[in-house]
Each structure stands twice: as structure tokens, then as C-alpha cells.
């Protein structure tokens, strides 16, 4: 396939993200990466679980967590997962402008999630003096949740860059895999969050 065909495809194929060898490689490589990320988060979850009762006299999970905030955050992130699915739906239908709209919504939801998260941290630090350094639980909590937050932030920057970069070009076989892979990343972040709200917050609340 010539470069011209990739940048200006005469017709979009069925699965534009896997139409070129580069696309196929990117697709597969990214899934592998997610396999590795699974272990990364497992190690963090393991550490958190091992330290979840090590409060060193400070506040414990039951005392700290409020479910309302977490519920709102969860809804935001879950919804953003759906909106990115919509974006990919439009990508497959070769409808670039709609894809951009949905990605925009995704980004907005993602940022509001982050906002809530920052507020949550602020709240713990100022109301409870529960910090990264105050107890092993604190270290483990901020590290696990912070790593997830970092992933959210990175995902947002990534999607925004992609959108800005391709706003004028439209969809082609060169950038379709990039959009697709970014959306996979976004879903993965959501998967991790499902476990965070279950294992950290809900189980922490149960005690």
C-alpha cells in the first residue's frame, strides 16, 4: 500500500484500525501492553490489600471514605467509556466529525472525574490529615489511586493531542489505529476503576 493510499484512502475498509500492517501491529502491541498493565495494577492492588489495615493510629478506610463522591466518579467514568465506544462506532462508519464530538464528550467526562478525584484527595488531607506519608495505608492508597489518576490524565492528554493533531485531516488509515488504541486505553482505565471502587472503596467501607 502506498503512502498516498494510507493518508487518502479512496475507500475506508471494514476495520480501518487494522487495515495496514502498522495498524495491525499497533493493535496487537497495545493489547500486549495492556496485559502487562494488568500485572502492574495487580501489584499495586496486592500492596494495597496487604497494607489496608496499617493505619499507624491514623484514620482507617471505614472512617475516611464517603460513598456519594465515589459513586458520582464511577458514573462519570463508566459513562465516558460508553461515549468513547460511540466515538469508535462513528470511526468505523467513517464519520469523522461525529467521532470528534464523542471524543470531546469523553474528554470532558474524564476531566470532571479528575477534578472530583483531586477534591477527594484534598478533602482527606485537610479534614483527616490522611496523607501519603502518614501511614502505610496512606502510601498504598494514594499510590494505587494516584497511579490510576495518572493513567486518566495521560489518557486525556493523549486523546486531546490526537484530536488536535487530526482535526484538519480527517480520518485515514494512518491515524485510525491511533484513535482505536487510545480508546482501548480508555476502556482499560475504566476496568481498573471498577476494581478500585470495589476493592478500595466498597470493601474498605465494609471493613
Amino acid at each position: 500500500m502506498s503512502n498516498e493510499d494510507i493518508l487518502n484512502p479512496k475507500q475506508m475498509p471494514h476495520e480501518p484500525e487494522k487495515a495496514t500492517l502498522e495498524g495491525k501491529n499497533k493493535f496487537l502491541g497495545f493489547w500486549f501492553f495492556l496485559g502487562g498493565e494488568t500485572v502492574l495494577f495487580a501489584s499495586l492492588f496486592g500492596t494495597f490489600l496487604a497494607l489496608k489495615d496499617s493505619t499507624a493510629g491514623g484514620p482507617g478506610t471505614e472512617e475516611l471514605f464517603g460513598l456519594e463522591l465515589v459513586f458520582v466518579m464511577t458514573m462519570l467514568l463508566l459513562t465516558s467509556s460508553l461515549t468513547s465506544v460511540y466515538a469508535m462506532y462513528h470511526m468505523k462508519n467513517n464519520n469523522f466529525s461525529k467521532m470528534m464530538v464523542w471524543l470531546g464528550v469523553t474528554v470532558a467526562l474524564g476531566f470532571s472525574f479528575l477534578g472530583f478525584e483531586l477534591y477527594e484527595f484534598y478533602h482527606y488531607i485537610h479534614e483527616y490529615e490522611f496523607t501519603f506519608r502518614s501511614s502505610a495505608l496512606g502510601s498504598a492508597f494514594y499510590t494505587l489511586v494516584g497511579f490510576h489518576g495518572g493513567h486518566v490524565l495521560f489518557g486525556l492528554l493523549w486523546i486531546v493531542t490526537l484530536m488536535a493533531r487530526n482535526a484538519k485531516r480527517g480520518l485515514n488509515l494512518y491515524n485510525a489505529p491511533k484513535f482505536y488504541v487510545a480508546s482501548l486505553y480508555w476502556h482499560f482505565i475504566d476496568v481498573v476503576w471498577v476494581f478500585i471502587f470495589t476493592v478500595v472503596y466498597l470493601m474498605g467501607k465494609v471493613g
Binding site: 495491525k24 496487537l28 502491541g29 500486549f32
Partner: protein, 619 residues
């Protein structure tokens, strides 16, 4: 558009070419040179260790320096020598063996190398910046978290950065092997080396993230005041041990599996026989990889995990002897009935069998959890792992270098010097490490700066030290051989060893696009099949056409350099927040380069059919 070969324009252009290359064959050279230099460093450290232990109560180096020496020796050898040397082989050979023009991600391939390289540099800079890490290559907390100075910080940053490179490399090879095989090469027709690389890459993918997390926790504890390993604030030091070994045990199979692949190729080539029990070999490789994740706690039998855990991990560990045994016997039976030609590569491989068997057997002895209460942290363990690592990995790397040197550099290494490399190293190796089994049992713990008089350990240690000098001699002869070969040996043919796999079907060294036409694979040992049917070359799977090639790029170098700079910032911001500026500068460079990478289209170029027809690789 044939810009990729911009060399022969002087030294500057030559350097620039390597800094920007994304060609897997050149990246292999980079890995080889960098890994080789680090091997010499690690070897030098080993010599210093052995000199210190030459006689009882020796004061050759101080206690603190000794701990730095063993830490750097272990870390350097494992992360900066053995792994990169294996990556050199993987890069040089895998794409050729599967009939591919390149790896799946040429850009990332180069990024992986530079990350490793700069990570290794950071680690070794510690020598000049107030002291190297001194908590052992295992860096157990809280010794590591409370170690004064910045030594351990260098360990953390260095491994974090080079670890990222390794992970990238692993993913690259996985995708390459899954997606880029030539037509006809089904999984069960892949050469065994490619298979082992595949499994090794999977292990990298699943093992390294555990190390990444462990290093982050340690970094946070040391640099940002978290308390994961501070028992006073509820921390738990055993977490590090688990995370380290969840990574660490698979790591040793990451090291050994590729050389198992090498030996499979060498045995079969120089016996002129198909590998005996190919499918069993593949199965055994996968099984070793799989079991490798269920045994890590055998390094922690004396940690106090309790009898149930110890028993479970003892039994799973022993189980690994079975697939490994399958391999040993299959190699023996590959030679059985063959016609064995004792080239240097074959000599290293033949020497590997008894050596590794001894190492594996002491491994199984260690796996007997209760008995490990006696062996653990003694020289018995040191003997075990040098038997498998030196007798397995290093022998394997030597075998591979002698075997694939013509493919990498176009000349066959001098055979006579090759044998002169082998014998001192082989004899020296057994002198050094065999006696250490007994030293351990006689009560000599490892990581001992000095042993005292009157403990009956004097003779054994002296013998061990003498052996190390023989090994050094072997290495020096090898270096001489490299130089000698470069100047004195004639150019090698495409297939100097009567090879069986695809890499021998193209010129030595191959043109930068590897295969003019992608070959059609008709079975295991693809080239051998064609040769045994009297054909000279592979049947192409496609008509001659344009070849797509990636552009080179300096960005991987820049990204890694940024992290290198940021690394120093992270290390020193503890002393003075001013250093945080380095973090911002460094991260800025890296993120900037990433940004450039993502907004600039890079589709590569095409070599045109007409140019290909004109000359063989003379572009």
C-alpha cells in the same frame, strides 16, 4: 530515497547513523557493544570480589566498597550485560529467522535500546557520584530504603529506566513474531530460537511490571517520604521481597530460555540433524515459562512464610526440572545419530550440557525447602546460579556469537582463537565455582566481605580466585579474536555452516531490507528443505516489488536522554529542591520528543523495484 545507508561519509556520519538507526541489525550491534562493555565492567567487579576473597581477613577493599561491588556486579551482569546481549541476538536473528524485513516497531526498538543504555549509564554514574548502591542486587528493604547516600537511588532510577526499555523490547518481539512471519511459517514451523524469544518476551511482559511497581514503592519511600517499608508507620518489608521475586524468578528464565533456543539451533546445525522432538521442545519451553510464575517464593524459604507456603513453592519449583530435563535429553538425541562437527559454537554448546545439568540439579536441591534452610544465602547458592547463569547464559551467548557472527558482521570468527577462548574460560569456570558448593556447605555465607581465619575456608577460596583469572584470560582472548577477525579473516559466504533456517538464505551480512522477496516457508528448517531438494535458494512468496522501509529518527535518543537528565533530578531533589528543575527539564525534553513524535507523520519510504533489480544490496 536510499538514505538509510548514509555511511562511509566519515566518523560523524557513522555515529549519527547509529544514533538514529531503526534497523534491527544495527540495533543489534548497539546492544552487543553496550552489553559487552557492561559485561567487562561486571567482570572487573567480579575480579575485585575474588581478589578480596583470596585469603582470610583480607583488607584489599573496605567493607562498604565490597557491598557496592557485589551489588553492582550482580545488577550489571543481570540487567546490563546478560539481557542486552540476549537482545542483541534477538535483534540480529529473529526477523531474519521468520523471513521479515524488520521488527514490528522499528522506532520503539531503538527507543528500547536507548532507554536501556541511559538506565545503565545512570546506574554506573553512581561510582563517581558518592558511591554505588550497596544493598545487594535484590535490594531488600529496609536495608535499601535506609541505606545512606544516594547509591540505592541510582539503583532505583537506573533500573526503572532500563526496565522500561526492556518492556518495550519485549512487546516489540511479541508483535514481530505474531504478525510478521513469512507466508507458510506457522507457529509449529518457527525455529526454536524464535520460539524461545517469544516465550521470553511474554515473561518480560508479565514480570517487569512487578519490578516497576516495586521500584516505584522504593523510590517513593526514599525520595518522597512514603512509608511502605517503614514498620514504624505500619509498613511491611516483605512486600518488597515478594514483588522483587515475582519479577526476579521469571527473570532468570528470561535469561536462560533464549540460550536454550541458541543451543537448539547449534546442536541441530552442527549435527546436521533436525531437532529431536521439536514439538516437545516447544511444549517444554512454554511450560517452563508458565511454571516460572508460580515458584518465586523459593527465594524466600527462610523469610518465615510458614510450612504450607514453603511446601507448595518447593513442589512447584521441583516440577520445573521435568520440562528442563526433556530439553536436555532432546539435545542429546539430536546429536545421537548425527554427524557432530566440533566448531567453537558447538564446543560451547557441548560444554553447556554437563555444566547446566549440575547447575539445574543444585537448583532442585535448593528447591527442597527444608534443605534450603541450610543452603540459603551461602556460597552453595552462589555456585548454583553461576553454574546456570555462566554455564548456561554466558556459554550460550558465546556459542551464539561464534555461530551468528558471520550473519552480524560478515566474517566467521577465527576458529583457533575461538578454541583458545573456550578452554581457559571453561576450566577457569569450574575451578571458580565448583568448589563454592563446598564452601557454602562448610558454613560460608554469601555477601561476606571477609571470612575469618580458622574456618577451614582458605584453600577453597584461593582456588576459586585462581579460576576467575582463567576466565578473565578467556574473555581477553575473545576480545583479541574480534579484532583479529575484523582485520585478517576473509568475508564469509551467505551460509558458512550449512545452516537450516532462513537467516542463512540471505547474504552475510544481509542488505538493510533483509529479503528482496519474502520467502515461502514449506516446513520446519525452511532452508534445509530447499537445500535437500537440491535448490540453492528459497522460493519467493511474492513477485519483486517495492519495499517499504521506516525512516531513522533521533527522537528515541532524545526521549531517553530526557529521562536520564530527569533521573538525576529525582535523585538529588532530596537534598535540595533546586534539583527539581532538572526533573522538569528532563521530563520536558522527553514529553516534548513524544509530542513531536505523535504530531509528525512518519510513514517511511519505499525502495523501488527498479533499484532492487539493479544490484544486490548495493543501494
Amino acid at each position: 530515497m536510499s538514505t538509510a545507508v548514509a555511511q562511509k561519509k566519515g566518523f560523524g556520519a557513522f555515529i549519527w547513523d547509529y544514533l538514529t538507526t531503526v534497523d534491527h541489525k544495527k540495533i543489534a550491534h548497539l546492544y552487543l557493544v553496550a552489553g559487552g562493555l557492561f559485561f567487562l565492567m561486571g567482570g572487573l567487579e567480579a575480579m575485585i570480589i575474588r581478589i578480596q576473597l583470596m585469603k582470610p581477613d583480607n583488607e584489599f577493599i573496605s567493607a562498604g566498597l565490597y557491598n557496592e561491588m557485589i551489588t553492582m556486579h550482580g545488577t550489571t551482569m543481570i540487567f546490563l550485560a546478560a539481557m542486552p546481549l540476549l537482545f542483541a541476538l534477538m535483534n540480529a536473528v529473529v526477523p531474519l529467522q521468520i523471513g521479515a524485513r524488520d521488527v514490528a516497531f522499528p522506532f520503539l526498538n531503538s527507543l528500547g535500546f536507548w532507554l536501556f543504555f541511559f538506565g545503565g549509564l545512570i546506574l554506573n554514574f553512581s561510582w563517581f557520584m558518592g558511591g554505588a548502591p550497596d544493598a545487594g542486587w535484590t535490594a531488600y528493604a529496609p536495608l535499601s530504603t535506609t541505606s545512606p547516600g544516594h547509591g540505592v537511588d541510582f539503583y532505583v532510577m537506573g533500573l526503572q529506566i532500563s526496565g522500561a526499555g526492556t518492556l518495550i523490547g519485549g512487546i516489540n518481539f511479541l508483535v514481530t513474531i505474531v504478525n510478521m512471519r513469512a507466508p507458510g511459517m506457522s507457529y509449529m514451523r518457527m525455529p526454536l530460537f524464535t520460539w524461545t524469544v517469544f516465550v521470553t518476551s511474554t515473561l518480560i511482559l508479565f514480570a517487569f511490571p512487578a519490578l516497576t511497581v516495586g521500584l516505584f514503592l522504593m523510590m517513593f519511600d526514599r525520595m518522597f517520604g512514603s512509608v511502605f517499608f517503614d514498620v514504624a508507620a505500619g509498613g511491611n518489608v516483605i512486600i518488597w521481597e515478594h514483588l522483587f521475586w515475582i519479577f526476579g524468578h521469571p527473570e532468570v528464565y528470561i535469561l536462560i530460555l533464549p540460550v536454550f533456543g541458541v543451543f537448539s539451533e547449534v546442536f541441530s546445525t552442527f549435527s546436521r540433524k533436525r531437532l529431536f522432538g521439536y514439538s516437545a521442545m516447544v511444549f517444554a519451553t512454554v511450560l517452563i515459562g508458565f511454571l516460572g510464575f508460580m515458584v518465586w517464593a523459593h527465594h524466600m524459604f527462610t523469610t518465615g512464610m510458614g510450612p504450607v507456603a514453603n511446601s507448595i513453592f518447593a513442589v512447584t519449583t521441583m516440577a520445573i526440572a521435568v520440562p528442563t530435563g526433556i530439553k536436555i535429553f532432546n539435545w542429546l538425541f539430536t546429536m545421537w545419530g548425527g554427524t557432530i562437527q566440533m566448531t567453537t559454537a558447538m564446543l560451547w554448546s557441548v560444554a553447556f550440557i554437563p555444566t547446566f545439568t549440575i547447575g539445574g540439579m543444585t537448583g532442585v536441591m535448593l528447591a527442597a525447602a527444608a534443605a534450603d534452610y541450610q543452603y540459603h544465602d551461602t556460597y552453595f547458592v552462589v555456585a548454583h546460579f553461576h553454574y546456570v547463569i555462566v554455564g548456561g547464559v554466558v556459554f550460550g551467548i558465546f556459542a551464539a556469537l561464534h555461530y551468528w557472527w558471520p550473519k552480524m558482521f560478515g566474517k566467521v570468527l577465527n576458529e583457533k582463537l575461538g578454541k583458545w577462548t573456550f578452554w581457559p574460560f571453561f576450566i577457569g569456570f569450574h575451578l571458580t565455582f565448583f568448589i563454592q558448593h563446598f564452601l557454602g556447605l562448610m558454613g560460608m555465607p554469601r555477601r561476606y566481605w571477609k571470612f575469618l581465619e580458622g574456618q577451614g575456608l582458605d584453600t577453597g577460596n584461593l582456588i576459586s580466585t585462581i579460576g576467575a583469572f582463567f576466565m578473565a584470560l578467556g574473555v581477553i582472548i575473545f576480545l583479541w579474536n574480534v579484532i583479529y577477525t575484523a582485520f585478517k579473516e576473509p568475508k564469509a559466504s551467505a551460509d558458512p555452516f550449512d545452516g537450516r533456517t532462513l537467516e542463512w538464505s540471505i547474504p552475510s551480512p544481509p542488505p538493510f531490507y533483509n529479503f528482496k522477496q519474502t520467502p515461502l516457508v514449506r516446513g520446519l528448517d525452511a532452508l534445509w528443505i530447499e537445500k535437500s531438494e537440491g535448490k540453492k535458494a528459497m522460493t519467493p512468496a511474492e513477485p519483486l516489488g517495492d519495499i517499504h522501509m521506516p525512516y531513522g529518527s533521533i527522537l528515541p535518543f532524545v526521549m531517553s536522554l530526557g529521562l536520564f537528565i530527569a533521573g538525576f533530578g529525582f535523585i538529588y531533589q532530596v537534598d535540595n529542591p533546586v534539583w527539581l528543575s532538572l526533573v522538569f527539564i528532563g521530563m520536558g525534553i522527553t514529553l516534548g520528543a513524544m509530542f513531536v513524535r505523535s504530531v509528525k507523520d512518519d510513514l517511511g519510504y519505499h525502495i523501488h523495484k527498479e533499484d532492487l533489480e539493479k544490484g544486490d544490496g548495493q543501494l
